[in-house]
Symmetry: C2
Subunit: 215 residues, 2 copies
């Protein structure tokens, strides 16, 4: 049986691959694993059936054999431990890839999500103009630190890994924000990752869901 | 050689164990592993030596044999994969523990940190009174979802695991906020975890750092 992931039936990003199923699709493509997708309406996310798989009513989830996993980091790690291609073999290098996977969701993503939410929910608030530069500053600091680590390297630590995949994917939400332009080496790093054939296949697959809706 | 972790020489929490080294100390105690601590000043965090271990200039880090790890989730997972006591043996149960470890830092912690930062940095801003209830509401939703998952269970999924350790630790920052009082089953779950001997040993160890400063 192919693994089954869940995704939004109707993603709010108009086919730009910004929902969190995207990074799991990308990982499955990097690992050469076929998969099936169960599309869920926003109402279905909150129903007990899905809550049993995902206590917070989010996507994506992964079901494979008798295993059910939630949270993109856990899903990608579970897959990468079972199929070669996204984790180095040595203990020390694997520990560093793991560090980057957690850094993606724990250190880099939160200020980016906070900024997206403010842009969406607080745009009409009187404080928006004063608060936004504070949020931008926190993101710039992270991007500076990432650029310093990357230096002239192609990837974060040797070969492309699940750490790169997750760090790049959390930064993709900055596209269009104008923030990446101040960090050309980070922008080039994201572009290198997006040029990978597995990224392209995952992107087309999620885009087909949007296009099938005839929107 | 014992593993070496890093921690703040002068934590801003006055010995309450809220800095992120605490959850690694707790994990090491649960696993019965002795460890050493290298205390760092705030200035030392930003120096190239520490940045090589931790690109974002944070604590904690872990060095053991030739392995260097950063991010609490990665550190705890690395240790729990090598010593028994914090991860179930079966594939399906282990995948669920992994899901909770990522949920802790990716889904539960960000709104809690955002609220702490607002309470610290935005208290004098004109928008504080209107914005705080929005932040509280996001945290209440997560706590409701957690309570629904827990039901009458002692732990999240069978025996106490690294998932429980991380979920509990990210919620400890809510102590004193008044938010936990609306979720008695979650508060009881945190209290059960804090009563564990390993938690107590870790708490005393970090408190000794504060007390040694003569503050």
């Amino acid at each position: 049986m192919d693994p089954i992931i869940t995704a939004f039936a109707s993603a709010p990003d108009r086919g730009r691959g910004l929902a969190r199923d995207f990074r799991v699709r990308w990982a499955l493509e990097e690992l050469g694993q076929a998969y099936q997708v169960r599309l869920l309406s926003f109402a279905a996310l909150k129903e007990p059936g899905h809550r049993e798989l995902q206590p917070f009513g989010q996507i994506p989830t992964l079901e494979v054999d008798d295993v059910a996993v939630f949270e993109t980091g856990a899903i990608i790690l579970h897959l990468a431990q079972r199929h070669p291609g996204l984790l180095p073999v040595g203990t020390a290098a694997r520990a560093r890839a793991l560090s980057w996977m957690f850094a993606a969701v724990s250190t880099i993503e939160p200020p980016i999500v906070e900024r997206s939410m403010a842009a969406m929910l607080e745009r009409d608030k009187p404080w928006f103009a004063e608060r936004m530069p504070m949020l931008d500053e926190r993101i710039h600091r992270r991007l500076d630190e990432l650029a310093a680590h990357l230096g002239g390297s192609e990837w974060l630590d040797g070969a492309f890994s699940a750490g790169d995949l997750m760090v790049v994917d959390v930064m993709r939400r900055l596209s269009g924000s104008g923030l990446l332009e101040a960090h050309p080496s980070v922008a080039a790093y994201i572009a290198r990752a997006e040029a990978r054939p597995a990224f392209q296949r995952a992107f087309e697959a999620q885009r087909a869901v949007f296009e099938a809706r005839g929107a």
